[in-house]
Symmetry: C2
Subunit: 341 residues, 2 copies
């Protein structure tokens, strides 16, 4: 497989290079076909690259910049003062064809704003959307969008999200005819906002979409729909609520893990672990670290937003996700899908 170059904003996220650089090394170890352009402060980056094998070293290039966008900056300030920042340079690398995709754990609004300014929207898409995979209890995943790019949406926007989500699910989850649902507060036709009810009609009229109706929050994890469409406000509320619930319940369980038991109990603990192992394995499928990348879809290139609180593992997942989308040429497939409609 030929080499794939990604542009990484290594200054983004709560911990900057201390997380993003070890994550980059991990991602390069896991995938020998990747290479990275690392945008950020070389003084902070270089010490973190000591003692790594030459085979990894050779696939990294530091693109020094002293400026960065931080999380406290409002959108308009961030955009006005974005020149020469690690985030903007990473997106520009994609714009100029030096990289196939860009990953950042930085300021979400700024990343979306800059990406929309620098990378053209696909024809037929009025507004890009943030998309993510969510795990389901039947060990699969659903695609969910919009997760915060658009606070309020018209029916046409929701319809376009349904189209993009369906094409994304088809190509990344290998689902032939993905089931599309609209997030709502009931399943009866009369429920919810006017925009949602109107979107129903638009989606139903498109024979390429398998519309299955409204979905409520309690079924998000149940794999009843492959694509879950909502406006950015509701999608964000739902996704963060899911993440919070999973993190909290899992950490309640972990609090009492085997590690915390005195040595006398070790043998029982070992046996218990074997007994409970399948529960834990099933829970592991819900580990939010694995669903870290939210993609900005609807642009002509791959832009992945990692969590601000990314860990090394989860930032590496986001990189992997961006690489997969770039390899599968998802923006191009969305474009072809839109043209088919």
């Amino acid at each position: 497989m030929s080499r794939l170059t990604l542009a990484l904003d290594v200054m983004g996220g709560d911990f900057g290079p201390r997380i993003t650089i070890p994550a980059s090394i991990l991602a390069l170890e896991q995938d020998p076909t990747l290479e990275f352009l690392l945008f950020g402060d070389s003084q902070q980056i270089t010490p973190l690259l000591q003692n790594i094998p030459t085979s990894i070293q050779q696939r990294l290039r530091i693109c020094h910049c002293s400026r960065e966008i931080n999380n406290q900056q409002g959108l308009s300030y961030a955009l006005r003062h974005s020149k020469g920042t690690s985030m903007r340079l990473a997106i520009e690398a994609v714009q100029q064809g030096d990289a196939k995709a860009c990953v950042s754990a930085g300021n979400t609004a700024a990343l979306m704003g800059l990406a929309k300014v620098l990378l053209p929207c696909l024809p037929g898409i009025d507004r890009p959307a943030l998309l993510s995979l969510i795990p389901t209890v039947n060990k699969g995943c659903s695609v969910m969008l919009d997760l915060g790019a658009n606070i309020e949406c018209r029916a046409e926007n929701l319809y376009q999200f349904a189209l993009m989500g369906s094409i994304f699910a088809e190509n990344t989850l290998n689902i032939l005819y993905p089931r599309v649902a609209l997030l709502n507060i009931g399943i009866e036709e009369i429920k919810g906002y006017k925009s949602i009810r109107e979107a129903t009609h638009l989606i139903e009229q498109n024979a390429n979409l398998q519309y299955i109706g409204f979905i409520e929050g309690n079924l998000l994890l149940n794999g009843v729909a492959d694509v879950i469409v909502s406006d950015g406000f509701n999608g964000n509320i739902a996704l963060k609520t899911l993440e919070g619930a999973m993190m909290n319940l899992m950490s309640l369980l972990k609090e009492r893990t085997l590690l915390s038991y005195p040595p006398l109990n070790k043998m029982v603990a070992w046996l218990a672990k074997r007994l409970f192992n399948r529960s834990y394995q099933q829970l592991a499928h819900f580990n939010p670290e694995q669903y870290n990348g939210a993609s900005l879809v609807g642009l002509n290139a791959v832009v992945v937003k990692a969590h601000g609180s990314s860990t090394v593992n989860s930032f590496a997942y986001a990189i992997k996700d961006a690489a997969l989308q770039a390899r599968q040429a998802i923006p191009n497939k969305i474009l072809m899908g839109l043209e088919r409609n």
Copy 2:
């Protein structure tokens, strides 16, 4: 303690009397000061009351009616044809002072619609809201509203919800100066809808409210706020998402419970259970059955909506919740709280 009479719509919910009657008996067993008016079809109710002790029998009165509102009926149809239905009669019993509170697991929209028509709003409240308790990881609870009574809200509505939620938390959770937060998709001032940002100012200006800012979905279970305020659409999405996540994760764990292990493993299973017991106890705090009752606050009487899919236990919880609110005269306390502002 003097007797407390509640009006129960026993026809509501997915299973009608088969759930609501055993739940009523359970609630009467647990609380010897309660008595119920049971509104519904006596032909369905009577057989379910066989063989119960006289002490329970004496505290039940069947108020026969042959009509009921079902879940498929749209709001306007349900309201127009509500005369003589079990739900309407139960609310009318409260209106006429025959009962102190009403509980139904029936059609939510119809229950809210009828309650708003039959029971006066408290002065100073433009729109009642659906309120519920949600469990928190620190073994407490937060109050959350609105959960679906009002799809779209102005800043003034959100402000009134904050007031009612704060008074509710003060009185039912015994919190002196409850921390109030607005549900939003970020914590920065500029985030979210205009109505949310404007509500901030209204809430901040009231010295009786302890406003702590915006809260995101991922912290709903963390006990960082005592009162979480949102419009009915987002509140409903968040609550149902929470419920779904909890139910799913708990059933994943239960799938592999001790019951499913062959006899040879029983001893180890017993030991394992002891080891894992605290995890399970902590999870039990999140059992959605315990948080079944959503209360319609802002009216001059107690109206509790139980889940359509209520079990015997959870419908009994909803009854208990209604009794508690009636005993504490929550509507009156909200009224006094509003007058203080």
